[in-house]
Amino acid sequence: MMLEFLALGALLATLASLPRLILGPRPADRIAAAQLAGTGTIATIILLGAATGTPALYDMALVFAALAAVTGLAFVALGGRSS
């Protein structure tokens, strides 16, 4: 039962990055918020895997991690006004 609450906590941590995404005066803040949300999603998947005892979700968390890396790179290279 404890793991379900922790999974809920991880999801809330992901959603907690939204205020900075809305307010963030500069694109850099919004990119940071997006990066934190990505990490929060990966943590949620790991917790779903732990709660249901299905290790296949751990492979999925690895795929999400690879995609979050690429997405982060895309944001830094293309976000905001061009240099």
Binding site: T14, L36, T39, A50
Partner: protein, 96 residues
């Protein structure tokens, strides 16, 4: 599965989720961008590593260690690098 492993795993996961929540709070409340980046990279490295380690403890098959370990390593590396790239970009063009 021994009770100790379960307790240890759950405690680590709780600590990891705590890190994530604190990072989100830091991201929201800290005054300027650079300090917010500081909070962000903590969640990427410590928070997720703890969650992955706890999950590894809870799972009874050792096969789950590889993806979790690789995932924690990848997120730590990408978190640190992207934090650096954001800061570098901020330094060169304060507005963007």
């Amino acid at each position: 599965m021994s009770l100790v492993a379960t307790l240890l795993g759950t405690a680590m996961i709780a600590a990891g989720v705590g890190f994530l929540l604190f990072a989100a709070l830091g991201l929201w409340r800290l005054p300027d961008t650079l300090s917010r980046l500081h909070a962000l990279t903590k969640a990427d490295t410590a928070g997720l590593a703890l969650v992955a380690l706890g999950a590894a403890c809870l799972s009874d098959t050792p096969a789950a260690l590889l993806p979790l370990g690789l995932c924690a390593l990848l997120v730590a590396v990408s978190g640190a690098t992207i934090g650096h790239l954001i800061a570098r970009r901020l330094m060169r063009r304060p507005a963007a």
